[in-house]
């Protein structure tokens, strides 16, 4: 069986966060969702995110919940199929109440832009140009 990853991220309002990511085109698995957490499908069978209410999240970690609008522990980077997909997702995120901390970066072999969701979690979207290859470390 292939490895799956699930990112648990704390959110202040599960319903608002579901609406935010739904407007970006992501769907949810109702089987693994309730009022305290919603499972968002990023890539069926391999990559999921659990949007988890802060109270529930805290019960899982034993440490304070980092307020992601003030400081970050993680940058989640997702590959996209095209430059247009990167731009379109960022545009939808901003329209739905997110923000973008950086302008789009075009390095030729790679196009990237990030957005912050409603809780300050940072998502970076990257399109790697298949026409070029690099040995640079990139994220």
């Amino acid at each position: 069986m292939s490895k799956q990853v699930i990112f648990n991220l704390a959110v202040k309002d599960v319903e608002k966060s579901k609406a935010f990511f739904s407007s970006l085109g992501f769907t949810f698995n109702p089987q693994f969702s309730n009022e305290r957490a919603a499972m968002m499908i990023i890539e069926e069978g391999s990559i999921q995110a659990m949007l988890t209410s802060e109270d529930f999240f805290q019960s899982l970690t034993g440490k304070p919940v980092a307020q992601a609008k003030e400081a970050n522990e993680i940058v989640i980077c997702l590959t996209c199929d095209s430059r247009e997909e990167v731009a379109s997702l960022v545009e939808k995120a901003v329209a739905a109440g997110g923000r973008t901390p950086h302008p789009l970066e075009d390095e030729g072999f790679m196009v990237s832009q990030g957005f912050e969701d409603l809780d300050g979690h940072l998502w970076n979207l990257v399109w790697m140009n298949p026409a070029s290859r690099t040995s640079q470390a990139s994220q």
Partner: protein, 132 residues
């Protein structure tokens, strides 16, 4: 094309973190690694972690870095093939200098345990019973 994910996490000492995850059995992609970051392969072609030095990580955010030993923004949960794999990874993590925040949880259909890495990032390991 399938979506791929790169989990970018800040680390205080890249070499020590690489050694830690190597002790757990993970390999690195040298093509995407240098002095500022190391690309750890979790599932080839799909899931990677980028261990980034704090100064390099900082260039991707416009906020301070969370000190993960003190507060948590994310739990990275990985599926395992068996209960034994869950236990083995946690044992290796503890032997390599990590620690486990709690005892294993056995729900019958699901077996879960977790470890904190050298920087305090929490990794959850879960085995789910194949659906009948």
């Amino acid at each position: 094309m399938n979506k791929q994910i790169f989990v970018n996490l800040p680390v205080k000492d890249l070499d020590k973190s690489k050694a830690f995850f190597e002790a757990l059995g993970y390999g690195f992609n040298p093509q995407f690694s240098n002095d500022s970051g190391a690309c750890m392969v979790i599932a080839e072609g799909s899931i990677y972690a980028m261990l980034l030095t704090e100064p390099f990580f900082k260039t991707f955010i416009d906020k301070p870095i969370v000190q993960a030993k003190e507060a948590t923004e994310v739990l990275v949960c990985l599926s395992c093939e068996s209960r034994e794999e869950v236990d083995d990874l946690v044992a290796r993590a503890v032997a390599a200098g990590g620690h486990t925040p709690r005892a294993a949880q056995d729900h019958g259909f699901m077996y879960a345990h977790a470890f904190e890495d050298l920087d305090g990032h929490i990794w959850e390991l879960v085995w789910m019973a194949p659906q009948a």
